[in-house]
């Protein structure tokens, strides 16, 4: 039987144990890092399901437990800012906290992937009325949207910021400002063929030229551009096709274009409830009238796309 001295002198104990102990701080840091990751994951999950209150608590804890400027810190600061911003009911105090955190992130980690969204969120804070008597600050919002466009021109979020910037002008419903907003978008689209929001931007332009600018020709041109790219929201195309058909028939007196879009209402947008009236319109225009096949319980019908 080995005695204790034998054990003490065994090579594994003499060399391996000190080596293991020397790694303990690393193991501890790794454990901390795993715990932080687990907390961030939990916070993110809560945030994604819009449980802002619970997520805020978690992110707040991570902020306190991590070093300023690290990646987990940036993640937690952004998460906490979003939670404070959207925790319902919104209050002035929580909005101020959100603003402070977004600004903190921009100050300490401009290179973080959360920085552009923080800047954009500061714009949203300024633009939207968050609670009773919260002033709308369109100029403040424009400043932040412009900053996103200027500082991160190659990221997709710059397109979103451009759309937001244009919308701050359009929503004034002042003709000159609305035109300026429309120009901003058109200029952006001229040089960016692959803009992910292009179809949405063209649709927004179509709406803007329709109302308040009442430029029906340009409105239809914009809608057609959106259609050519593929409408972002294919669920309501029937309503859009109907508007395009009426614009073509009533305002542009373009029979062929009207026929094209009434046909599309019947074939792709009958769920809008306008199929029957589109048939009547085609009859009136002396064009062939497609059959209305919505709800036909036969297997050879192709589904509504």
């Amino acid at each position: 039987m080995r005695n204790i001295s034998t054990l003490e002198t065994h090579w594994t104990l003499r060399w391996v144990l000190p080596a293991l102990f020397s790694f303990l701080p690393v193991v501890s840091v790794a454990a901390d890092s795993t715990a932080t990751e687990a907390l961030l994951l939990a916070g993110t999950t809560k945030l994604s399901s819009r449980n802002f209150e619970a997520a805020h608590e978690i992110f707040d804890r991570v902020i306190k437990e991590t070093a300023t400027g690290t990646e987990p810190w940036a993640h937690a600061v952004f998460g906490a800012a979003v939670c404070a911003h959207h925790w319902s009911p919104t209050t002035e105090k929580r909005n101020r906290e959100a603003e402070r955190l977004y600004r903190l992130l921009l100050e300490k980690r401009t290179d973080s992937r959360y920085a552009p969204r923080s800047a954009l969120s500061l714009g949203r804070l300024a633009e939207l009325r968050d609670y009773y008597e919260d002033p709308v600050d369109l100029d403040g919002a424009r400043h932040w949207y412009q900053r996103v466009i200027d500082d991160w021109p190659d990221l997709p979020i710059s397109g979103e910021a451009t759309l937001r910037l244009a919308a701050t002008f359009v929503q004034t419903y002042d003709a000159e400002q609305v035109r300026h907003g429309a120009e901003l978008l058109e200029t952006w689209l001229e040089t960016r063929e692959h803009e992910p929001l292009a179809a949405g931007m063209w649709q927004y332009l179509g709406d803007t030229y329709f109302n308040p600018l009442e430029d029906h020709k340009t409105s239809l041109r914009c809608y057609r551009k959106a259609e050519a790219i593929g409408f972002l929201d294919s669920n309501n195309v029937g309503t859009l096709f109907w508007r395009m058909a009426i614009l073509a028939e009533r305002f542009l007196e373009d029979r062929d274009l009207a026929v094209e879009y009434y046909g599309k209402v019947i074939r792709s947008g009958a769920a809008s409830g306008k199929g029957y009236q589109a048939q009547l319109a085609l009859e009136r225009l002396g064009a062939p009238v497609p059959e209305l096949r919505l709800f036909q319980p036969v297997a050879d019908v192709r589904p509504v796309e």
């Binding site: 399901s49 952004f78 759309l163 009426i246 029957y276 297997a299």
Partner: protein, 548 residues
């Protein structure tokens, strides 16, 4: 004292109130334990995955049909047991809210009546998004023409009733289509009019009502022509309102979306094109007054069950009801039933010149929408069962047995249900100026005295006009409310967008998240924070929109 007497005395000593009470108590405990164990076995059957589906479809035939389809599913999946929980409609909303709050909701539930499923913000956090599944084929359609079709495209008219605009996502799948038609007692109609053919025009409809009334008076049978009831009278009014007023669309649909909104109706009212003296509006109300004479006495005190009871007992000749009631009505009536659509005045008939056409059913998107509860411990299995229910083969079996209309392309309805198929012919909307609050209450409240002949049309029109023009609570306030709701909606959508954007940044968003985000972003941007509503008010009314 012999032994028998001693035994009797001994037994008698034990038979007293206390021992009976104790015996009853023990029996009750035993029964309760047995019941608890039985429920335990049903709910937590060892070795089996137990799925629960909660719904409010207690119409005759549906539960039996669902049981049959469940049996088919269990045969294919011997390790799964499916339990259905049918809850009466009157308490369904409260029941579901309670289940959701206490985290005990069934795996699959009908998204109906409960505030926590109607409010998109609760819905999004309590129910699974089906976005990852709707673009993939339904495996139970294998071997059919739908084999490669994305699941959402296999639904007649799309899967729109499962789609939530405000969340830009799918949260449920419908299992049927539903329409409303007029059921009639063929025998009574034949006795009264000499024919039992479906009624096609409004004159035929009114004449039949008169004839039934006369028959009733002759025979002393107390038969009401139409079993009016509070549940259905709104449908009658809407169907005829659309028919009489859809023609105004070209004049008052300002945003050219093809629909007449409440705001557009109000603007049309202020500009005089659709006020209470407009010929079609007046004709509509007169027509409804004429029709409501045949709804029976005290019909506003009846609900759908009582009206159906009158019909199946032969005490009402006609009943407007949903396709979902077909099995109940056919099974419980000992007379032949016919079905027709709401008859409209045609050319040459009184009011014929005012009719644009029928209200269409193109926007019907499917009913009994089933959602997948996020708290379910068997989410994948529950989704599998939902796909089973909405496969071509099993949706046909389910709906044919239930006497409902199938919702899947290619699933064939029974012959009896063919008259109920949604008809996309006609118009989607008509003029309506009542939103909520004061204007709604006044119009709704004054409609009945007018329809019942207690006040004349001028009096009724005057009261409606005063309500709409009321400076504090009238149409302007409705407009202001709409503006208020719209900017609040835009603010609330910001929460959805923020959660989505954060998820994308933090890599926790499901595939397709960016596309969904872009759609939500566009939808919110198009609303312009409600400012178009404010701007239109200022243009039309020439003054700032009232503060809420």
């Amino acid at each position: 004292m012999n032994r028998d007497t001693g035994r009797r005395q001994s037994i008698a000593r034990w038979i007293n109130v206390n021992t009976i009470g104790l015996a009853l108590l023990l029996a009750t405990i035993g029964l309760s334990l047995g019941r608890v164990m039985q429920v335990q076995r049903e709910l937590f059957e060892p070795g089996k995955t137990v799925l629960r589906i909660g719904h409010a479809a207690l119409e005759l035939g549906f539960r039996e049909a669902l049981d049959d389809v469940i049996a088919e599913y269990e045969r294919l999946h011997p390790d799964v047991k499916v339990l259905q929980i049918g809850v009466p409609q009157k308490i369904y909303g409260e029941w579901l809210n309670t289940q959701l709050i206490s985290d005990t909701a069934p795996d699959l539930v009908e998204l109906y009546l409960a505030s926590m499923v109607l409010d998109e913000h609760y819905l999004g956090s309590l129910f699974e998004s089906l976005a990852d599944h709707v673009d993939r084929p339904n495996p139970y359609n294998a071997g059919t023409l739908l084999e490669e079709w994305p699941w959402r495209t296999t639904f007649l008219g799309g899967m729109r009733s499962g789609f939530r605009e405000g969340l830009q996502d799918y949260y449920g799948a419908p299992i049927t289509l539903g329409t409303i038609r007029v059921y009639y007692n063929k025998q009574l109609l034949r006795e009264a009019t000499g024919s039992d053919a479906p009624l096609k025009t409004f004159d035929q409809f009114l004449n039949a009502c008169e004839a039934i009334q006369q028959l009733s008076e002759r025979t002393g049978g107390k038969v009401t022509p139409i079993a009016g009831n509070l549940y259905i009278v709104g449908t009658f009014l809407r169907r005829y309102r659309v028919a009489f007023t859809a023609g105004y669309e070209s004049e008052i649909d300002l945003d050219l979306d093809g629909l007449i909104s409440l705001r557009e109706s109000y603007i049309g009212y202020l500009q005089g094109s659709v006020d209470m003296q407009a010929p079609n509006i007046r004709a509509y109300f007169e027509c409804m007054k004429e029709l409501s004479r045949h709804f029976g006495e005290g019909y506003l005190g009846l609900w759908r069950d009582q009206a159906a009871f009158l019909f199946v007992q032969g005490r009402a000749a006609m009943l407007a009801a949903g396709s979902w009631d077909a099995t109940s009505l056919f099974a419980q009536s000992d007379f032949e039933i016919g079905v027709f659509d709401f008859p409209l005045p045609v050319e040459g008939e009184r009011w014929g010149q005012y009719i644009a056409g029928r209200e269409n059913e193109a926007r019907h998107a499917g009913g009994t929408v089933i959602g997948l509860y996020k708290g379910s411990k068997n989410r994948l299995q529950a989704l599998d069962f939902l796909q089973f229910l909405t496969s071509r083969k099993y949706n046909e079996i389910l709906t044919r047995k239930a006497g409902w209309i199938p919702v899947i392309v290619g699933a064939q309805p029974s012959d009896r249900m063919k008259p109920f198929l949604p008809d996309p012919t006609g118009y989607p909307t008509g003029v309506d100026v009542r939103n909520s609050g004061y204007v709604y209450e006044v119009i709704h409240g004054e409609e009945w005295p007018f329809l019942h002949g207690e006040i004349d049309y001028e009096e009724f029109a005057g009261r409606v006009d005063r309500a709409l023009r009321d400076p504090g609570y009238g149409g302007d306030r409705q407009w202001s409310q709409e503006y208020d709701q719209m900017w609040r909606w835009c603010r609330n959508q910001e929460r959805v967008l923020a959660a989505q954007a954060s998820g994308i940044l933090m890599d926790s968003e499901a595939p397709g998240g960016q596309k969904r985000y872009n759609r939500l972003l566009l939808q919110q941007t198009l609303a312009n924070n409600g400012e178009s509503i404010r701007n239109q008010f200022e243009q039309v009314r020439g003054k700032p929109i009232p503060e809420m």
